[in-house]
């Protein structure tokens, strides 16, 4: 059976270093299987967050050979075995232990977003085309790989000024919902700093659910912010006719 060497980060918040483990590679094996092999044979205290092993729960995010990935979807046969496979925790979040990071900040951002708000007495009929449009955003499994790869968070650490791709996806799903009645452009502009995104599309590249984050969520939201805050003609017309959506 072929063997792989995994260089897995071991450590705590104070620091750590990669430790190498030799793992036999079985057909169909993924990196998470290799981590479980390490837990079972060499390091029972290796901390890994995981649940479904099927790419649906979004728990097992890590950086495999420097790329943010779900370890349950990173097949061993897709990686070169002639050198160690590095497995590191997500760099954008504080390490708790080994591969487990503290992602609590994401839930704080989430609380800033006004939830789905239909008009009172809504008629719950929607056209299928409108549903299809928001369905893509609802595929998100909250693995936070897009947050991890985004340079605004990863390299510039703008956690106080920026919401990150995950939450632009959520807002896009709400803003484009045919029955929603609240505008979130104010929050996008001020609190979630959507202007800091300079559309490098890294988030789209790492998304395990293939959500076209930049093209379908972030750019349309940027356009909405521009319409609401920077378009002088639209602003003039709104003054006369009103906006239709309540400002939040």
């Amino acid at each position: 059976m072929p063997e792989a060497v995994l260089a897995v980060f071991r450590g705590m918040a104070e620091g750590g270093a990669p430790v190498e483990y030799r793992v036999p590679v079985a057909p169909g094996m993924v990196v998470l299987d290799a981590l479980h092999y390490i837990q079972g044979h060499f390091a029972p205290d290796l901390a890994v967050r995981w649940n479904c092993k099927a790419g649906r729960c979004g728990s097992c995010s890590a950086e495999v050979n420097g790329r943010p990935r779900l370890t349950c979807k990173a097949r061993m046969d897709s990686l070169p075995l002639d050198r160690p496979i590095s497995v590191f925790p997500m760099r954008a979040f504080p390490v708790i232990r080994d591969l487990v990071t503290d992602v609590a900040w994401n839930y704080e951002v989430n609380r800033k977003i006004p939830p789905f708000t239909p008009r009172p007495g809504t008629d719950w009929k929607m056209s299928q085309a409108d549903i299809d449009r928001v369905q893509e955003f609802r595929r998100c499994i909250e693995c936070f790989l897009c947050q991890d790869v985004c340079h605004v968070l990863r390299d510039h650490g703008k956690t106080a000024q920026f919401g990150g791709p995950r939450f632009f996806v959520r807002i896009a799903g709400l803003e484009m919902h045919p029955l929603d009645s609240v505008s979130r452009t104010g929050i996008l502009k001020q609190e979630l700093g959507i202007g800091l995104c300079n559309i490098t599309k890294c988030c789209t590249e790492v998304c395990p659910e293939d959500i076209r984050i930049t093209d379908n969520a972030i750019i349309p939201l940027k356009e909405r912010v521009v319409d609401d805050y920077y378009d002088p003609i639209a602003r003039f017309l709104r003054k006369i006719f009103g906006s239709g959506k309540s400002e939040n």
């Binding site: 705590m12 837990q39 390091a43 029972p44 205290d45 901390a47 708790i96 232990r97 487990v100």
Partner: protein, 93 residues
Amino acid sequence: VRVEGSRLFNPGWHLARDLKSMLTVSEAVARSALARKESRGAHSRTDFPKTDPEWGRRNIVVARMDDGMRLSDRPLPEPPAELKALLREGEQA
């Protein structure tokens, strides 16, 4: 049983804590499966491949005694009325 490393997010620690209970539950499951001389759902026996309606009216109860486990039968409790209605619907369909 021994655990390495700190208590912080240590799966080995949890496994060591759970091990005794898991062994107890495993024994109860194995004893009950031996006693149930039929096949039913996920409980599949090559020596008793058929479902026996008699076993459908009984539960196996495992109790801890001073000298180990004791198995006994208990009649299946009456299901709630709404569940019964659903079961009847299922039988008719």
